[in-house]
């Protein structure tokens, strides 16, 4: 029974990691950019929700919507004012600029919110669980997290494969120069992609804060989880990212069963094993 419970918890944790990873995957897919401040933006998202709840007195879900809108604007401006200028053949500028952003965000938040740990409170839902019989029960929040991950991925798949904007995303990703000839403004497309990614990040931030405590400095470690999920799943597919998140979640949950200190380490080990055995990840989109 413990085994089943562990698996269930692991899969649900994987939903959270998939949420962490989806934004990273989206941005890389559209513009080949790896955002090292990705984890910190999740923390920013969590604080944004916190402000909505604490300072504005909004219900948490409404606060999350507001945070989502704010993050959308932030992403659009960030990309068009800063990150578009770093894109090019050289990988160093985007890496360094997002790394610098990461440091700035962490310390900015430290300055603004202190190093205290915070938590987003869903009220009664926070502790609610759904009994599955046989002594098994799953928390409502983890369930919501997983469901949100699935919904986000469904939405992104719809957007990418069923809408004109999605076509533009894919076309730009394929051949940015030729996409411009179709009347696509690459910089605008990139800005929209970043805006969209930060909305996903805000959702991730919501559950980051709801499932556990957070503080201004935990971004980098969450970035690493997101990254591991993307690589395990294989680049280029949102469902692969979900699978990667689930595998990572399972590994961590199993590791934690052995010893609490082993939770993170077990995730890393699985990641390294995948990297050695299947460097392109488990579910890469293009097999060539």
């Amino acid at each position: 029974m413990i085994v089943l419970d562990t698996i269930l918890q692991g899969v649900l944790l994987g939903g959270l990691y998939a949420l962490f990873a989806t934004g990273l995957s989206l941005i890389f897919g559209v513009m080949r950019l790896v955002n090292l401040a990705h984890g910190d933006f999740m923390v920013v998202g969590a604080f944004a929700v916190l402000i909505g709840v604490d300072a504005l007195g909004l219900p948490i879900l409404l606060a999350a919507v507001v945070a989502g809108v704010v993050m959308f604007g932030l992403g659009y401006l960030l990309q068009s004012l800063l990150l578009n200028r770093t894109l090019g053949k050289d990988i160093l500028p985007p890496l360094l600029v997002t790394f610098g952003l990461s440091i700035i965000l962490q310390n900015g938040m430290l300055e603004a919110f202190s190093a205290d740990t915070q938590r987003l409170d869903f009220g009664a839902l926070s502790s609610a669980s759904v009994p599955l019989g046989g002594g098994l029960a799953v928390g409502v929040i983890p369930l919501m997290t997983f469901a949100s991950a699935v919904l986000v991925i469904l939405f992104l798949n719809w957007l990418f494969y069923r809408t004109e904007l999605g076509r533009a995303f894919r076309a730009t990703s394929d051949k940015p120069e030729i996409a411009q000839l179709m009347g696509i403004d690459n910089n605008r497309i990139f800005a929209l992609a970043m805006a969209l990614a930060l909305v996903v990040v805000a959702i991730a931030g919501l559950y980051l804060g709801a499932r556990a405590t957070f503080d201004p400095l935990i971004g980098p470690s969450r970035l690493i989880f997101a990254f591991e999920a993307v690589i395990i799943g294989g680049l280029g597919s949102f469902w692969g990212t979900l699978a990667g998140g689930v595998i990572l979640g399972l590994a961590q949950t199993v590791g934690a069963q052995i010893s609490p200190e082993w939770q993170t380490l077990a995730g890393h080990v699985v990641f390294l094993v995948v990297l050695v055995l299947r460097p392109r990840g488990l579910f890469p989109r293009h097999v060539d």
Partner: protein, 235 residues
């Protein structure tokens, strides 16, 4: 009525000059051909007109307004569509998506729509859900042509559309070009294949080492004149 004009257009790759004061024009409804050997500057000229290469603002006018140095997307929105050399389809998009993306930046009602393109190239309708890059070269060229038509351009630029295709396919593609011209668009054909270019065009410009060396109506030009302009030297 002059639709597109260039006035002393120059272009550089770094400090290597690729175009030296090109003057040309395309009238409304006219088809012109730009011929020249590899490296004559044809692609650079296309790049400058479509905004992929920098150009002085006043050096290119479209419909009387300067467009030199504008972004490609802005130029496309004004009604210049390019069928790029090498077709350049989007591999992540299927055939229909490749066509649909053609009017992303310019949604103008006109003769051309998805249905009209399918009528022109019925084979594409059969293959509409296939990955565009899985088609044969000729079919890919049809997609590239159809994609450019989707925006109902006033000027259609065709860059080396016969390159790498079998002669029979080239005939089909050029037959389609006739249908396209019949709908009223101006066309600018860039070709290394002189015979093909002469057959479809109202006027020809010969480019050699970045300069226009010869211009005129195809029937008024002798073979020797053209080959001299094409190859340079007294050959």
């Amino acid at each position: 009525m002059k639709l597109l004009e260039t006035h002393g257009l120059t272009a550089f790759y770094g400090d290597f000059q690729a175009l030296f004061g090109i003057d040309l024009h395309v009238d409304e409804g006219e088809t012109i051909a730009i011929v020249g050997a590899n490296g004559a500057g044809k692609s650079t000229l296309m790049g400058a007109i479509t905004g992929r290469r920098s150009a002085q603002r006043e050096a290119i006018t479209f419909d009387g307004k300067p467009i030199g140095g504008m972004k490609p997307a802005e130029i496309m929105a004004r009604g210049i569509a390019l069928v790029p050399e090498g077709r350049q389809l989007f591999p992540s998009l299927d055939v229909e998506e490749n066509l649909l993306i053609g009017n992303y930046g310019r949604k103008v009602r006109g003769a051309w729509s998805l249905d009209a393109v399918y009528r022109l190239f019925p084979i594409l309708k059969e293959r509409r859900k296939q990955a565009a890059t899985s088609l044969s070269g000729g079919q890919q060229q049809m997609v590239a042509l159809g994609r450019a038509l989707m925006s109902n351009p006033r000027l259609l630029l065709c860059d080396e559309i016969s390159l790498g295709l079998a002669p029979a396919i080239i005939k089909d593609i050029y037959a389609a070009l006739d249908a396209i011209r019949a709908e009223g668009a101006s066309v600018m054909v860039v070709e290394q294949n002189i015979g093909q270019a002469l057959a479809v065009s109202d006027r020809v410009y010969c480019l050699l080492e970045g300069r226009v060396t010869l211009t005129g109506r195809p029937e008024a030009l002798s073979r020797d004149q053209i080959s001299a302009a094409y190859f340079g030297g007294g050959r």
